[in-house]
């Protein structure tokens, strides 16, 4: 218990020093951003039939990019699968519904992909294996113009490569 506390104190001190150093360099660090380092050269395809039940779409609330509670179990399953199939690369494709500006939605779709990626990395998947692409509102799954269609279109889809 005491040791734990000491470790925690040490960690807090370390964090403070890091932040101070960051400030001295005139740079703000944005907490939790995981950089994208490479564009994988693999040919990404839809998940094979036997894994489709694992790589189901992840859906989002309107104008939101955080992972919904009811989507977490699905993502945990994907993370476990990726950990046991370490040679597979993942592409997360972010999409939005048609409401709002094309440009904002393109950025929002990217942020949705990055949210999914971050969740998977926090589950222990190597960040270098996951890449993102946003299609904004360019690729609706449902061409309708009502709430049911919009809910279907606010999604991340998955593509795999060896």
């Amino acid at each position: 218990m005491n040791l734990k506390k000491q470790l925690l104190n040490f960690a807090v001190l370390g964090l403070a020093i890091t932040m101070l150093a960051g400030c001295q360099m005139g740079q703000k660090k944005v907490k939790g951003d995981i950089p994208l380092t490479v564009i994988p050269s693999g040919q990404f395809v839809s998940p094979p039939e036997e894994y489709k039940h694992i790589f189901k779409n992840i859906y989002f609330d309107y104008d939101k990019s955080d992972i919904r509670g009811d989507m977490e179990a699905q993502l945990v399953q994907i993370a476990e699968w990726l950990k046991t199939n370490a040679q597979v690369l993942l592409k997360v494709e972010g999409n939005c519904d048609e409401r709002g500006s094309d440009e904002y939605n393109l950025a929002l779709g990217e942020r949705r992909s990055l949210s999914v990626r971050k969740f998977l990395v926090e589950q222990g998947v190597d960040s270098a294996r996951i890449t993102t692409v946003s299609y904004g509102e360019e690729r609706p799954a449902n061409p309708g113009h009502d709430e049911a269609a919009w809910a279907e279109n606010r999604r991340c889809e998955f593509k795999l490569a060896q």
Binding site: C23, G26, Q27, K28, K29, V30, K31, G32, D33, I34, P35, L36, T37, V38, I39, D63, K64, S65, G100, S101, D102, E103, Y104, L106, A107, L108, E110, R111, L114, K118, T131, T132, V133, S134, Y135, E138, R139, H145
Partner: protein, 452 residues
């Protein structure tokens, strides 16, 4: 009260007299501000275009065609109205035949302020248009010009001579010979197209089955930066106007989007996400990062440059409302300096475009009103804003013309989108595209004077 009215009348007539000699004074008068909507326009009588030699049928048709082009240019210049509104009698029209002189007394009763006389001449494949404009107040010729070109570019020849006159009177860049880039959808593909500012001469600019969007003109008009999925991922490219080759500018992992070239043509503001979140960056013309501008956990997009080549406006949803708003920040400011929010009304404000007029703080943008988007303008210094469009359709994604008076934009009706333009002061819409498919994402190119 009466005296004030008289003084004002005196001042207006004085002004209408003096702008002829001082273009600056007049252009100060048309400076776009948040509150000002309607300007007084100069009443211009445009007499028929007479062929110098003959009156064959071909020439009569040509004369009408030239007249229609010039009439559109003046009526949509923002500075003139063709006068009188009704058709002139034959004896008035025939006054145009004497190109060199004007019987000023004849025109007194018409209430016109300027009379334009024009001639054209065809030699082989070449057409020459001459125009002489007489000013009623000073009883003098205030403009005289001749422009030649191949017959095949008749429209451009007419636009050049009207543009020269509009520039002389307004002191602003003319739009008559400018072009507008836009996106048209074919099936799932989106490609860039170019058209004249009046909707004529549409040509396809990119040719692939991916998505090509967000055009941004080089200030000299020689090329267009844009975003494309032609190599699977959203990257920024440059394509020169008269070349087939496309050049990759920024192809980092993640999003490379919304390129906006600075007015000095030296750098590009854009959104990149390679650091793990979409943020505003400034890159050089080869894609090297010069500066990261934002450091927020939210989404930043759609940057636009102020005429000072340093201040950026962009969209961010960091406000805490969870909805996008417009912010400004000098890209050279320290990383610890937070962007300054300038839109506070409405919960969804996006697509800013900063006026190209030096010193201007006016930004045109899109604001969501219920389910419809509307065009608004905001003063970046004061935060004062005005809603410009008030129709039941959706108007969005505005782009300033080089004169800082007109904007092109997307108008969507029943899920069909076309490109329109308007004078920001009266918001009267002019339809430009008539495609089978949706058009969007317009970007108004520079004045032709800069492209020479």
């Amino acid at each position: 009260m009466k005296l004030t009215g008289f003084i004002r009348l005196f001042f207006v007539s004085l002004l209408s007299f003096t702008f002829i000699y001082s273009a600056d004074l007049f252009s100060a008068e048309v400076e776009i501000t948040i509150s000002k909507q309607i300007e007084r326009k100069i009443r211009l009588t445009l007499l028929p275009f007479y062929a110098q030699a003959t009156s064959q049928t071909e020439f009569i048709i040509l004369a009408k065609e030239i007249y229609a082009i010039a009439e559109f240019d003046f009526n949509h210049s923002g500075f003139f109205q063709i006068w009188p509104e009704e058709k002139l009698p034959e004896k008035a029209l025939e006054q145009g035949k004497d190109f060199d002189n004007l019987n000023f007394d004849f025109w007194l009763d018409y209430g016109t302020e300027m009379v334009a006389k024009s001639q054209f001449e065809i030699t082989g494949d070449k057409i020459t248009i001459r125009m002489k404009v007489f000013d009623m107040a000073s009883r003098a010729v205030i403009f005289e010009d001749a422009v030649s070109g191949p017959k095949s570019s008749l429209r451009s020849v007419v636009h050049t001579i009207t543009g020269n006159f509009i520039e002389k009177v307004s002191g602003r860049s003319s739009i008559t010979n400018s072009r507008i880039a836009f996106v048209a959808q074919t099936g799932k593909a989106k490609n860039l197209y170019l058209m004249d500012y009046d909707g004529y001469n549409t040509v396809q600019f990119t040719f692939d089955d991916s998505i090509n969007i967000d055009p941004s003109w080089k200030p000299d008009g020689s090329g267009i930066f844009y975003m494309s999925y032609i190599q699977t991922y959203p990257f920024i490219y440059l394509k020169k106007i008269n070349a087939d080759k496309i050049n990759l500018i920024s192809g980092k992992p993640g999003l490379n989007a919304f390129p906006a070239v600075s007015p000095d043509g030296q750098k590009i503001a854009c959104t990149l996400s390679f650091n793990g979140n979409p943020e505003i960056y400034v890159i050089d013309l080869y894609g090297n990062v010069l500066k990261r501008v934002t450091w927020s956990p939210s989404v930043e997009n759609s940057p636009t440059w102020a005429p000072d080549n340093q201040t950026l406006a962009f969209v961010s949803d960091i406000s805490g409302t969870g909805r996008p708003q417009i912010y400004v920040k000098n890209y050279l400011a320290g990383d610890d300096i937070d962007p300054r929010r300038i839109t506070f009304s409405g919960n969804y404000n996006s697509s800013p475009d900063w006026s190209p007029i030096p010193g201007s703080s006016i930004i045109v943008y899109t604001s969501l009103y219920g389910r419809n988007s509307e065009i608004c303008i905001v003063d970046a210094n004061t935060g004062d804003y005005r809603r410009v469009t008030t129709t039941l359709e959706s108007e969005e994604d505005p782009s300033w013309a080089p004169d800082g008076i007109h904007v092109s934009y997307t108008l969507t009706q029943n899920y069909r989108s076309e490109i329109y333009f308007m004078d920001i002061r009266d918001a009267v819409s002019v339809k430009l595209t008539a495609f089978k498919n949706n058009c969007s994402s317009s970007a108004w190119g520079p004045s032709y004077k800069k492209t020479k």
